[in-house]
Symmetry: C2
């Protein structure tokens, strides 16, 4: 009944090597013969050994502190699910791997935003930072953080972010394409797109996908009207009238996230327009919002919690694993169109 977990010494004993060697294998260190490495891994499997993150971090030195940076203003969006889901995932990852996490909301409009990021490194001693859009594509910022010997992982990078640092995300272009494709199948020919803030490249890529689907269907720029919001419910509310009143009279409104779609929905209801009979509306992310609005929102599922967890794993592998100086890697997670009640045949 003494279900004591096996320790690194148990593994060492079983595989007939020194503790040091096991540690090297576990951390992808150099200078271990393949034969020995295999033997150790075998013992690890046989014992179902898992490293004790507490012990590792104690011995490993360093702060073991990671930072999660959001661009949004916590005052105006205290409870967004996007943030919660990402943080939840990151927190789970930290717990598994023995890291600590500090979450920081640094509004884009703060004059000293770069400074606030650097403080995370200098004062808080973060060893790695997770940037969310649009920070995840701020090449200058990322380069400077890297220069200060702090690791970086970008969430949903669209461009520069991918070349400089590891990234996690989904194929946003494909997501945009898939949802548009579905709408086209339903007979829609006139579209509206509600995008995100300037610099949020992954949201722009959703639009790229939409455009690709359009052109494949023989449609072009004149069949689409677009506006930029800021991902909040409020901006969805504010921008929708402009779309509805446009001479194009779109029959499908594609939004770059669920909150804006929810905002659009509420305006549409107020005008007596029927969803989905008169107008189809789609979201993006598949947050709980999509199930709570009426009708429930057809959207694209993005695995936010997994993304948060993967981001931490990537940082960890840079920090202690063998990937210290490896080429930047992009971890692309699966997405899926979730059909609920807001997309139907074109009127």
């Amino acid at each position: 009944m003494t279900a004591r977990r096996p320790t690194i010494d148990d593994v060492a004993r079983l595989s007939g090597v020194a503790r040091t060697t096991v540690s090297r294998v576990l951390n992808d260190g150099p200078n271990v013969r393949d034969e020995v490495r295999a033997r150790v891994m075998e013992a690890v499997k046989a014992l179902d050994y898992k490293v004790n993150p507490q012990a590792r971090s104690l011995a490993g030195g360093g702060s073991r502190l990671l930072g999660l940076v959001f661009a949004s203003d916590l005052e105006s969006e205290p409870n967004s699910f996007y943030h919660s889901a990402l943080e939840l995932g990151a927190l789970r990852g930290c717990l598994e791997l023995g890291y600590q996490l500090v979450t920081r909301h640094i509004p884009l409009q703060s004059a000293d935003r770069e400074q606030q990021v650097y403080d995370l490194i200098a004062t808080q001693r973060c060893e790695g930072l997770i940037f969310t859009p649009p920070y995840s594509d701020d090449a200058a910022l990322i380069a400077e953080v890297l220069r200060r010997r702090c690791r970086v992982v970008s969430i949903s990078p669209g461009g520069a972010g991918r070349d400089l640092a590891d990234g996690v995300g989904m194929d946003d272009e494909a997501g945009g394409y898939d949802i548009a494709r579905r709408l086209i199948e339903l007979g829609h020919r006139r579209f509206a797109f509600m995008g995100g803030i300037q610099g949020h490249l992954s949201a722009d890529r959703r639009l790229d996908g939409l455009m690709r689907a359009l052109s494949e269907a023989g449609l072009g720029a004149s069949d689409l009207i677009q506006v930029r919001g800021d991902f909040t419910f409020r901006s969805g509310v504010e921008l929708t009238p402009r779309l509805l009143d446009d001479p194009l009279h779109p029959t499908a409104l594609v939004c770059a996230n669920d909150d804006m779609a929810a905002g659009a929905l509420s305006v549409v209801h107020g005008r007596g327009v029927k969803v989905p009979q008169d107008l189809s509306v789609t979201g993006f992310d598949d947050t709980p919002v999509s199930a709570i609005v009426w009708p429930p929102l057809t959207t694209v599922h993005q695995p936010l919690k997994d993304m948060g967890r993967r981001a931490v794993a990537l940082l960890a592998s840079r920090l202690t694993g063998g990937r210290a100086e490896a080429e930047p890697e992009f971890d692309c997670l699966d997405h899926a169109v979730v059909e609920r009640g807001t997309a139907a045949s074109a009127p």
Copy 2:
């Protein structure tokens, strides 16, 4: 620039005692003279010393594993904000205090639900469990868990939970009272209440508060119609017609959580009833849902993230702090009515 964090030895040196003694002070151990205790605490403050949870858990033995138990079915509610917020808070607490967390959804209808809980103790070796409603009031279950020498904290216990184990929550009765009071001030005299599942005592207490406000205003049971939902958006949708069609013709609908209120809202819109002009609707919890429905929901703010974190802190204080055998304690956090757009003067 070597901003090494002070260690327990630094504190010991500064206060002129042995490391052992500092440890005793830090853990509220017995057998330390008050004078020494004070001296140590002074040094702690002077150095701004914080214990290193990793080291503590390494040395302390035990699994340092905590469990968070939800009654909901993860299949049907994969993304509820209530769950996320609680888990997020608990996770933050675990990270601060050096614990691990496993989250488990055990539907009430599972035949072997007790067994699943016990497995958390026997197989997973959890040292403490956090129960959410209605598990938090399941006296038999809590007693059995306690008997197996596993600590318990109840989230929002309404009755039995409070006597047996520590608890965290808000004053639900007062919350119900406050929101009803506001509605009465607005001139409402005929009420509907959408409650939660049987056994969810904290939701029942919200109703108690409502009743108290009613009777203070000279109103009684005949001025109220009530139904029970299951906290899901769907149940809000299903139950609202019954309320709307009731001969009482309520002018205010008080819901036991935000999701059900959102469901009610969507039905109400569909019928052409104007909110808040014709009908006031209120929620409970102040999750992001309340900001993305239309109109934004007037609700009662419940500090879910704080509750999760406090639950972990309470467990930790039982486990290593001095509260090992202390009387059960209830940690009551503040709530507040958040006025948004769904409550207005009675028609």
